[in-house]
Amino acid sequence: MNNAVTAIIIALVQVVLFVFLAPLLIGVIRQVRARIEGRAGAGIWQPWRDVRKLLAKNPVRAADSSWMLRAGPVALMVSSLLLCVLLPLVGTIPFPSIPSDLFVIVSVMLIGVVALALVGLDGGTAFGGMGSSRHMTVAALVEPTLLLAVYALSIPAGTSTISAIVETRLFSPEVIISPVSVLALVALSIAIMAETGRLPIDNPGTHLELTMLHEAMTLEASGRDLAWLEVGSWLKLAALLGLVSNLVLPWGVVTDFSTLGLLIGVVSIAVKVLVLGVLLSVGEIFLAKVRLFQVPELLAGSFALAFLAVTASYLVA
């Protein structure tokens, strides 16, 4: 089978798998948290029920809201689905003529960030604008860390194509535990926590508008608009966790296409993402949300780590 066909098969598998996996991941994260809090928990399938119900409601829209309230959620959804196609999650066989280039992937993610921020502004309320402003501030400050961390990871591979980076780590695992890689991974993890609105940067469970980043932007959305916003954000979290897990433990990822390999790839990425989700949830128990104006200090710290990783990999390695 030629590369193009296998790439398309893997992309299809990735999209279908992650559309299925993302709500499950959120369900697992919430369930683990509920159990640790001494609750019974709503079960790992609850996010699925939520989405199904949201799609069956009649949305309410304010007369002054524009097409952005309808198109923004779709843009976020498509950007997150594109992430699932482009990132090496199940397999590292890239699309012909669209390699999983670092900068392309970051920009695709930024489309979703922008769409969400514009949806927040579109409502024309104080809270939506506030969420949007904070969300964009965090996104702007995360950007250097994100790029530098992956830049540091890309140096051993000699290319900015993420599937090639994952392959390099698979074939020479000593790269994974090098100090440069550890520094870069820590920086990348902090950047991803900030980008996906997890603790300690944002509290995904909050009901108080003044402490919200992500939630405040969705206050005006209802029904299917809200469903796309939620699923889009979940998909983004799942895809980025998948990326981190493949960078830490690349084993199981498909490099040569075979049906058995594909099956192993699917199972391994699902397990990796869910385990990482459990770890994330347990870790969040110990964290409180930091003050908004301490977030830049946290991000500056992660930026220092990433910068150290890049220069170290040039000068030391």
Binding site: V32, A34, R35, I36, E37, G38, R39, A40, G41, A42, G43, Q46, R49, D50, R52, K53, A56, K57, N58, P59, V60, T206, H207, L208, E209, M212, E215, T218, L219, E220, A221, S222, G223, L226, V282, I285
Partner: protein, 161 residues
């Protein structure tokens, strides 16, 4: 708390939530929610005792979240409006706006005697009337205040779990 202790707590169940009582019958028309109900809580002018009981219902002991119920910060996200207190003049307009802002299908649960009839504040000069004067109430939870278990039962009729 060490990590191991935490892990053993999770395993052996530091479970605070009480065992679930048998499920009440599903409310007619709530099938559309399919076991997921988002609740917007409105205090239309109560003395806060019903609000405390609602808070207890969402706490870890009664843990109504296990049946698929969640509190949400905006009526745009809500399926059920949980209203406590008799409606005061200042809250009448916000209540109307909140009802209008909730996407259909939606249901209304009135909690406590004040919400149902006005209670002891019935003839107060600042009271405009019970919740049923403003919106059709689907489930009534009597009591002053009602027990959290009653509130949980009303919400479980919405989720059917």
């Amino acid at each position: 708390m060490s990590f191991l202790r935490l892990a053993s707590l999770i395993r052996h169940g530091a479970r605070i939530a009480e065992p679930a009582p048998p499920a009440p019958p599903l409310f007619e028309g709530a099938q559309v929610f399919g076991g997921s109900v988002q609740v917007r809580f409105i205090n239309a002018g109560g003395c806060n005792d019903c609000a405390l009981e609602v808070s207890a219902a969402f706490g870890p002991v009664y843990d109504v979240e296990r049946y698929g119920v969640r509190l949400v910060p905006s009526p745009r996200h809500a399926d059920v409006l949980l209203i406590v207190g008799s409606v005061t003049r200042n809250m009448a307009e916000p209540l109307r706006r909140t009802i209008a802002a909730t996407p259909t299908p939606r249901f209304v649960i009135a909690v406590g005697d004040c919400a149902l009839s006005g209670g002891v504040f019935q003839a107060g000069y600042g009271i405009t009337g019970p919740v049923s004067d403003f919106v059709h109430v689907d489930i009534e939870v009597p009591g002053s205040p009602p027990e959290p278990a009653d509130i949980v039962r009303a919400l479980r009729r919405m989720t059917g779990r």
